[in-house]
């Protein structure tokens, strides 16, 4: 494996470890509902600080269930990942294409030179 690839894999591993450790170590166990979103916790904090506060506007569209919501989140991530993958795939393909073109050019000048020298020998 190339050194570059190794470093990239280590980076990915570190990110995965950072995500898994809080779960593995049970860092949410002290809570009634472990691992809720911090956005929701902030909403709770608001209602604690100002119990009479009523949100004065509600979302125009709300996913009807948790499943639909997670589907939409997955869609968001998939769209992003798709575009990123397209970008890097395209770049890699272009680079390989350029390299091959260079090699071909080098080959043809080489064979051209060889042909010439062969002709000179005759």
């Amino acid at each position: 494996m190339k050194k570059n690839t190794k470093i990239n894999l280590v980076l990915l591993f570190l990110v995965a470890a950072l995500a898994v450790l809080p779960l593995a170590l049970g860092l949410g166990d002290h809570k009634k509902e472990p691992f809720t979103g911090s956005d929701a916790e902030a909403e709770t904090a608001i209602t604690e600080l100002k119990p009479d506060y009523k949100p004065w506007f509600s979302p125009l569209y709300e996913p009807p269930s948790g499943e639909i919501e997670s589907a939409l989140f997955a869609l968001q991530a998939a769209l992003g990942a798709g575009v990123l993958a397209y970008y890097f795939g395209l770049r890699r393909g272009r680079r390989q294409g350029e390299q091959r073109a260079l090699e071909r050019a080098a080959d043809s000048t080489l064979t051209g030179a060889a042909g010439k020298s062969a002709a000179e020998r005759d």
């Binding site: 980076l11 809080p22 949100p55 125009l60 569209y61």
Partner: protein, 237 residues
Amino acid sequence: MHIAEGFLPPAHAVAWGVASAPFVVHGVRSLTREVREHPESTLLLGASGAFTFVLSALKLPSVTGSCSHPTGTGLGAILFRPPIMAVLGTITLLFQALLLAHGGLTTLGANVFSMAIVGPWAGYAVYKLLRRSNAPLMVAVFFGAFVADLSTYCVTSVQLALAFPDPGSGFLGALGKFGSIFAVTQIPLAVSEGLLTVLVMRLLVQSSKGELTRLGVLVARKQARTGTGTETEVAAR
């Protein structure tokens, strides 16, 4: 960092909207200029926006026992400067507000201010500062992304504390409360974001040297070898 729909009093919602609008308008101008002058950068612009899309959809567990998500704004800010990131961040926030009921239209101004304006600018400033003091590229990228992420959540805490000061301890008391919910949770996630941004930047250095040189992320060596215009300073980790 998404303040939920209707969860900021009208006056605050309007004020943050007014504060954000000029940045976004200026960003749209920079974006159209960039695309007009360098049509070849459209692809990388798309990739930067895509990075924000992925990262802000990734809800990750944190040491505080709650979940939060990175912002992904550091990368675009470093590549294309913060004004352009203001637009890309706003698009992401709009998508989430309209389709996911995550964040909201009335709180869009406040959320744009934290995630698409302060985050990118703070991250970019740290990145530039580190680069000026000759830090290796990847170190600067890591801390740039880390700060972009964390500062976003600090701003959200300030915004909420301003709107909902603690009846007893006032603004500071509320800031402590929201800060412990957002900022502390965010620290490990900001590290993750830093690492992921470094990963993507490494891939970009491998795949898009020419583009990074044009954007000033990589510095062209002064004709190190004659004839090779693409000779660039290969970044160390």
